[in-house]
Structure formats: structure tokens, C-alpha cells
Amino acid sequence: QQQVKQSPQSLIVQKGGISIINCAYENTAFDYFPWYQQFPGKGPALLIAIRPDVSEKKEGRFTISFNKSAKQFSLHIMDSQPGDSATYFCAASPYRASAGGTSYGKLTFGQGTILTVHP
């Protein structure tokens, strides 16, 4: 129930095309869904995140679509560029409060999608 399933494992897109990566989850306690971009030799960098009270969030060329009833969310990269070539991870975390303060829950990551954008 803690898993986040991500597909596809790899994706090849032509420059200017749309890249779409999908994720599904089971744990209904998840209430924060970020997407991370990772280049070789670097740590993951936050791209965009969404809460389940909205169905879509757009930031520049990146859009998250969220379907709460289906427990699915996806990342759309419009006008894909060669510089977007990287590994993308979806993730999810629950809200978790601790006595005496607030401590947010751990991130559970998908398996990753290697995106290659050809010029």
C-alpha cells in the first residue's frame, strides 16, 4: 500500500513533442505529490508538486494532472527540449504531525522514467 507505481520506464520524444509520465498509488493517506528531475551525478530537484484538492497544476511547460478517484497522477512536459533529457521521479507523502511540532511524512518514490529528447 506504500508503493507508487510509475510508467513508462523509458521514453523517447522528439524535440517539440509532449512527454507524458504516469504514476499510480494506493495509500489514501498520501496528500502531497511532487515530481522530481534528476541528472546524472546529481540529487533529485523538485519540478512541480500538487495537492489532491486540485485536478491540475501548471508551471511553465510542466503540468501535473491529478485524478483522486483513480488514485493516479501524471506529468506532462510540453514542447520537450533536449535539455529536458533526465530521469523523472514521481513521489507521494502523507501528512504526519508529531506531538510538540509538525513533522511531515516521508516521500515514497516511483521507480523513475528515463526521458530522452532527440533534437
Partner: protein, 112 residues
Amino acid sequence: DAGVTQSPTHLIKTRGQQVTLRCSPKSGHDTVSWYQQALGQGPQFIFQYYEEEERQRGNFPDRFSGHQFPNYSSELNVNALLLGDSALYLCASSRPQGREKGFGSGTRLTVV
């Protein structure tokens, strides 16, 4: 780069040895989490520190332990290293009551 710094960047150890990895969170962040990322996999949560206490722990054995200091920096210790501990170890920090986690570039640990 989210301002989280980790040291060392690379490390080679022999099976059975012990290792300590270090993390300095981004300025203004008070919560530190550690993740293990095996080659070709997504990061796996090890544990999270807040107010110098371990708040949550993932499915990792007791060989993995940690500490958070009053300045919010943190250490990850791994005892009795196994070949399977070879991975990229990532530190993430977040601000008080913040959901957004910034990651460092990680420490690449190789156990031979």
C-alpha cells in the same frame, strides 16, 4: 542544487567497515531526511530527523543509524557494511512545517 551540502561526494569502503556521511541542510531548514538510491532505482527513505530526534524510519536494519545536531546538520552511520549497501545516499531538508524537500547531490558509497 537546493543548498543542501553533503560530504564526502565519493567513498570506497571494504565489507565489514563502518562509514559516516554528513549533511548540512539549507539555511532555514530544520528537518533532515536520508534516502538510499540504488543504481537505476528511486530513492528509498531511511529515516527523518526533527528536533534532534528520529521521527520516522523506513525498512532499514539497525546497522543504519543517524544523528541530528543542534545546528540541524545530520550524520548517517552505517555499520558492518555489505556489498548491497553500495548506493547513492541522499540527504533532503525542509523548512519548518514545509512539504517541499530539497536534496543534496549525494554521497556515492561503494563497498568492495
